[in-house]
Symmetry: C2
Subunit: 411 residues, 2 copies
């Protein structure tokens, strides 16, 4: 069981999480629960570091940030003990989460869960501080944003758990963001592949990285609400999904930016130099389009999207490259969004892309860039028309709760 | 070097502590610094636990409370790195502070400082989270109130340090509390024995336990101000003190309570039953007086003082005992104080006690109980006359800055 920051934000919520954990124990399950830091704790710790140092040392940042989850776990263990069960909280290090030495974004190398097993054998409920581990150099490390989901999935894999339950402040994974599409339907089940595409294209319920880990290790995820009972969404292997609907969900993002490089010399290595510099600066490049020059020897145009928050870093990283390559101009656009449709059934149905383009055209929405995978079609559009595009596609593919009686195929 | 909670309370003070640490490094010393939790952090964490649980589990309390010092250390390490030095912060566990399993009041069993030595050999400044260790069962433990002083002294002993500098918000150890006696003098040097008596009788600069540890391991303590340069007070072995003044200081306490048991049966085991029950309840009994009955077989009267905050616990503990023993009456008095004079030179000078009683009598102050050691005389008095008594004794024994030219002996 994993509880996110909003699910442990105050004393009442911690007690509620404790009751949910105890209920699972009393249902006859052995329980390991991973907790995030309470509400805004991590942001407050980052603010403290910024006050003290302009460029906080990353090892020390990890020592600092890892305290938040420990606080949550200790408090929840107290609450569980009060409910008449025996709980024990463990740090990432005590839980055996061994990582590499990349501070602030460490990767899990191994899970040595002996101490967890020992505690379970003593009939204890085990609480593990999420988001953290211990490096091969015996230093405290953190796993980066969303790291607690990864902790939970990694422990579920190591313990061979029946299920990894991710408790959040939403009821599950929806066919679209219910704030934009009131008719959006909670999905009973999605495949890892679909979830990966959804997470990559804007769905915020589960972190991309934890879904990848779950797929690679075959960990069944149950994504559900911490504030009410009832099933959420199961994320499972494709072989376990009952049916393959053509389209599963519409996802979106409104916080992207686009950079266009004009006059990129048409010679080998130009793209490598550009995207190498961006990677070094930690920019997450999403969709890339390169217009081939019409005649050989003429300059090309390269466009790509990045999260808006990476824009400054990207501009900095490009400065030296543009000089070296003799790039004529760099244009940036801060008001970029993206709408995507995801569905495993798409593989065997041509014509989905054509329908997407037709729907958006019918709304008068201009598609600026397109990227596809076998189970996803993404269109880069102006950010202000994203809600309109989401509603139109959700409606056209009949994904809503009111239309689910239909087969969901293209009309 | 050890910095207390007020010395690391905010970003500016953390940077100031960082500069002091760097200055010692640049003076050619290898530095290990122990930090407390920032300002009110520990109280806030305790409040969080109280919100979640009426009787927080002690193991989990330690997991919770140990985070405060880690935050201080990580932040200070960042600040030191910004000053061009290389710092590394270590948890109590990483620093090799091995304790017993008494959660919330663990005792240090061993200091395995390999990792500290390793870091010093790599020319690093080492910051250690105070107040905590790791138990022989691999759990996080805390050392109880004032535990960071003990961490510092224990590390100084294990590292064979030249000196253990304790930085606080006062300039050193004074001949009396300067808030009560404006003329009080900062003492350049006191012996461990004197410091122990002073700490036990109300001086709050150093924790009793850390002074005991320092005496047992011969650790030279330098107690000084974090907000200014200049020497403070050295606490050293008696063989190292230059002179043995008759009286070193006047100490006091105003937060005590007295319990008087009337009609205690005069039979063996009565006192053992009473004080055994109090010890089990965690009450720190200080002065005890038993009035022998005038005739054999008649009942005795037993009086003792305790910290006022222990009064409720003491009354609870006594309830069953008084019934068993048939004690006639229990009187309590919440307004009890104590004034003490401490001085190693007292050993060889009779007449000091007589002078103390004469001075207090001259002030019209009634002495309710007396307790002595070879280097201390304590008088239990009403708490409201404590300041008057302190000033009178400080003056009579000529301890003030204006009178230090005299030999300080009794006139």
């Amino acid at each position: 069981m994993k509880f996110g920051g909003t699910s442990v934000a105050d004393a009442d919520r911690i007690k509620r999480a404790a009751r949910r954990i105890v209920a699972q124990r009393e249902a006859g399950n052995r329980v390991v629960a991973v907790l995030s830091a309470r509400g805004k704790t991590t942001d407050e710790l980052i603010a403290m570091a910024d006050e003290v140092s302009p460029h906080p040392d990353r090892r020390e940042m990890d020592m600092l940030l890892s305290t938040g989850e420990r606080i949550s776990c200790a408090l929840c263990a107290m609450a569980i003990n009060d409910l008449g069960h025996r709980a024990i909280s463990l740090t990432g290090s005590q839980a055996g989460i061994v990582t590499d030495t990349s501070h602030t974004k460490a990767r899990i190398l191994d899970v040595r869960a002996d101490r967890i097993r020992e505690a379970l054998d003593q009939d204890r409920i085990v609480l593990v501080a999420g988001f953290q581990g211990v490096s091969t150099s015996r230093d405290v490390t953190t796993l980066g944003r969303g790291g607690s989901d990864t902790t939970a999935v990694a422990l579920a894999a190591a313990m061979n758990a029946k299920v990894c339950e991710i408790y959040t402040d939403v009821r599950g994974v929806y066919s679209a963001d219910p704030r934009i599409v009131p008719d959006a339907r909670k999905l009973p089940m999605v495949s890892f592949e679909e979830m990966l595409e959804m997470a990559a294209s804007g769905a915020k319920v589960l972190q991309l990285r934890s879904v990848e880990y779950a797929r690679n290790h075959g960990v069944r995820i149950h994504c559900r609400a911490s504030f009410e009972d009832g099933p959420g969404t199961f994320v499972v292997g494709e072989e376990d999904t009952m049916e393959h609907p053509l389209i599963t969900a519409v996802t979106h993002a409104t916080d992207e930016a686009r950079i266009t490089l004009l006059g990129v010399p048409d010679r080998p290595g130009a793209a490598a130099a550009i995207f190498g510099a961006l990677a070094d600066a930690g920019c997450n490049v999403d969709t890339i389009i390169q217009n081939e020059p019409l005649e050989e020897g003429r300059d090309a145009e390269v466009s790509f999207t990045i999260p808006r928050e990476d824009l400054l870093a990207a501009e900095g990283a490009l400065q030296s490259v543009t000089g070296d390559l003799g790039i004529a101009r760099v244009d940036t656009d801060r008001e970029i969004g993206k709408v995507s449709i995801v569905g495993a059934g798409m593989r065997s149905h041509p014509g989905v892309a054509a329908k997407v383009f037709r729907v958006l055209a019918g709304e008068g929405i201009n598609i600026e860039m397109i990227s596809t995978s076998p189970i996803k079609i993404s269109c880069v559009i102006r950010s202000e028309v994203v809600p309109q595009a989401v509603r139109a596609l959700h409606d056209a593919f009949e994904l809503g709760a009111g239309t689910i009686a239909h087969d969901g195929g293209p009309r």
